[in-house]
Symmetry: C2
DNA sequence: TAAGAAATTATTCAAGCGTATAATAGACCA
DNA sequence: TGGTCTATTATACGCTTGAATAATTTCTTA
């Protein structure tokens, strides 16, 4: 009865593969389907290996959540260019692939549902949330200032709350029922709504990207 | 070895108690913690009884989700009064207790994370979502019409998408991090933002409720 | 090329899971 | 009040779970 052959992988790579497999399991079968054995199968290893890299199942879930949050926020937080471009790109990125799709939502909701159970997950969540909102708030402040509009801290705070809510909500709608909306309908709604909220026009996406 | 005593409950009451216990378990320990045995303990019965009332665990979860959705939407969909009052109450209800709290979010997220796994849950979800958005769209149409503003179907659709997103997003923010906001800050942000989006003022909440 | 380190597999364990079935007792009606 | 129905308890079964440990194989390096 021959043992299966295997190859030894660098620690970082193996850990990453295991985390990726965990996310695949959660997206496909839900948190309940992300068992140690299923994750191992998906990663092409045996179950015991998971415990060699992660102290417990809780720990691999925490690492997996970190990766989910990073993927949801990293692109939007690295926008470049003038204030208007940065703001507009931020909006578009958050409402299009790969941030907005049903897999993202499945993963996000799975972890959110555990935030109230696992304090460590709650900490990871809070960090990601604050970082996202601060990024948005400074984008708004820069944009308003560049246009010579009122950019007082109070106004920026209120606007950040509203725009953050709008983006979160539209992201949710798009992920949950994307087929109910036209091609780029949600992005259009977001851009025109935010223009209205800020009281300032944003150049249309086409003209703007043609500039670059 | 004496058996434990018990009392026979009417079917409707017992079913309701079991569903309520299910929600308690999910809110406290997450979906994973909502085991047949835990639910039974929470309901003060033994595990076998659950199968007497529900065909399987899947079925009790589906019923539980129906209740969650009903509680999230029923109050807001029953607003009365003139168009402005209805719209404003709709907004306020969705962003205050008991709709907006961390328990609601835990339950909602738990089920949303299973929507992609269980088609029956997906159907329940879709029904609730469409009903909510239609209610909002007609509230907006009535309000715009009453004020003599443009209430064309296209405009109402776009506005409903935006306002729905805004409400969902603010609800999310409030549930997830309520302590980051002032007493009624989210409601204020929602009301002023929606005023801006519609291009029409809403009387403040105080003056309005004093009218009734 | 031989040896040692450790990454990986294989196996085992106790606990908990959803479900099935049999025994019991509460409640209603004759 | 006694008999009957069935809601409820009690117990058991087979599986799966996360975890622990022992056995191997791969890879490095001297």
């Amino acid at each position: 009865m021959a043992r299966r052959t295997f190859h030894r992988a660098p620690e970082a790579e193996r850990r990453h593969d295991l985390i990726e497999a965990t996310l695949d399991c959660i997206a496909e079968y839900g948190l309940q389907g992300a068992t140690v054995r299923q994750i191992a199968i998906k990663a092409g290893v045996t179950a015991g290996l998971i415990r060699h890299y992660f102290q417990s199942k809780e720990h691999i879930l925490q690492e997996a959540y970190r990766l989910v949050i990073a993927r949801l926020t990293e692109k939007a937080e690295r926008v470049t260019g003038d204030p208007e471009t940065r703001l507009r790109d931020f909006i578009v990125i958050n409402l299009t692939e790969p941030v907005a799709n049903s897999r993202s939502l499945s993963l996000w909701a799975s972890f959110i549902s555990r935030v109230s159970v696992d304090p460590e997950l709650a900490a990871i969540h809070r960090e990601g949330y604050l970082s996202f909102r601060n990024a948005l708030e400074s984008l708004l402040a820069d944009f308003l200032a560049a246009r010579g509009a009122d950019a007082s801290p109070e106004r920026c705070r209120k606007l950040a709350i509203a725009v953050n809510g709008l983006l979160d909500g539209l992201w949710l709608e798009g992920c949950l029922a994307g087929e109910l909306f036209g091609e780029s309908e949600l992005v259009e709604v977001a851009l025109t709504s935010i223009e209205t909220l800020l009281g300032l026009p944003l150049r249309p996406v086409d003209a703007a990207s043609a500039d670059r």
